[in-house]
Amino acid sequence: MPATILVVEDSKTVRALIRAALLADDYLVVEAPGAREALTTLEDTPVDLVITDVNMPDIDGLTFTKTLRARPRERSTPILVLTTEDGEAMKQRGREAGATGWLVKPFHPDQLRDTVRRVLGARA
């Protein structure tokens, strides 16, 4: 059974790039254009990994991460933050929010797949 990955990203174009990178490794990819939609998706779709942007309308990625950590089902689900934010302070906030990893854009598809493999492997 391939792992299911939820991609939360407001840019349709960037979502398509992430999806293309992940589909090459046969993951099941579900997408949400924002945290609110992602929370709705998670109601009936359990996922193995979450990849989220930070700067999004409505709810930012760090608040979203904290929200997931407070939910029983996603308390230990790996969350990778994929963002243009490259500052140490932001990264630290990500860590405090409960993120598993911090990836600065632009991403190379191979690097993204390697990181996903490592994170899912560590969990298995």
Partner: protein, 174 residues
């Protein structure tokens, strides 16, 4: 209040919630100016698709990256993505070089039109194509843009190479 000024080059991205004028000089490259009128926030990028692989995934990534960075920078400066409108400049055929190189300006223009449509960002004005380079001045607080077409681009501007795409750092927390 005196308006500050900043000049950006290929690969550059700048956004501000303070009144600033952002300047750039474009040949076949594209500059996109994004503005949020309610927030008084604006920003500009300047990107160029790789000459050799303009039809490949690398090219799209470069443009996507530049747009992603710009949208992120505008949001960080206080803009709301849902209110953004775009002005698009550049994509001129300034080099009289035969062969596939001449397709780059057209591909640049096609890329950005498709991107902005997909991302549902309205283009309120565009001045693209043609044979002349362009000086662009963009005012971040009110979204005004001024374009001056120039026949000749100084050699150093034309030859300023696009920086290689640098991939971001990956950190896994303990």
């Amino acid at each position: 209040m005196k308006t500050g000024a900043v000049t950006i080059y290929i690969g550059g991205v700048y956004a501000s919630g303070q009144p600033m004028v952002i300047k750039t000089l474009l040949g076949s490259c594209i500059a996109v100016c994004l503005h949020d009128a309610v927030g008084g926030v604006g920003g500009m990028n300047h990107f160029m698709l790789p000459w050799g692989k303009a039809d490949g995934a690398d090219a799209g990534r470069f443009g996507v990256h530049a747009m992603d960075l710009l949208i992120g920078a505008v949001m960080k400066a206080g803009g709301d993505r849902r209110r953004l409108v775009a002005k698009v400049f550049g994509g001129a055929n300034v080099l009289d070089v035969p062969g596939p190189v001449v397709d780059v300006p057209r591909q640049n223009v096609e890329f950005i039109r498709t991107f902005l449509k997909e991302e549902e960002i309205s283009v309120v004005s565009a001045d693209v194509g043609g044979r002349y380079a362009r000086h662009v001045h963009f005012y971040t607080h009110d979204g005004r843009a001024f374009v001056k077409r120039v026949r000749r681009v100084r050699a150093e501007e034309r030859s300023r190479a696009a920086p290689a795409v640098k991939y971001g750092e990956i950190t896994l927390f303990e």
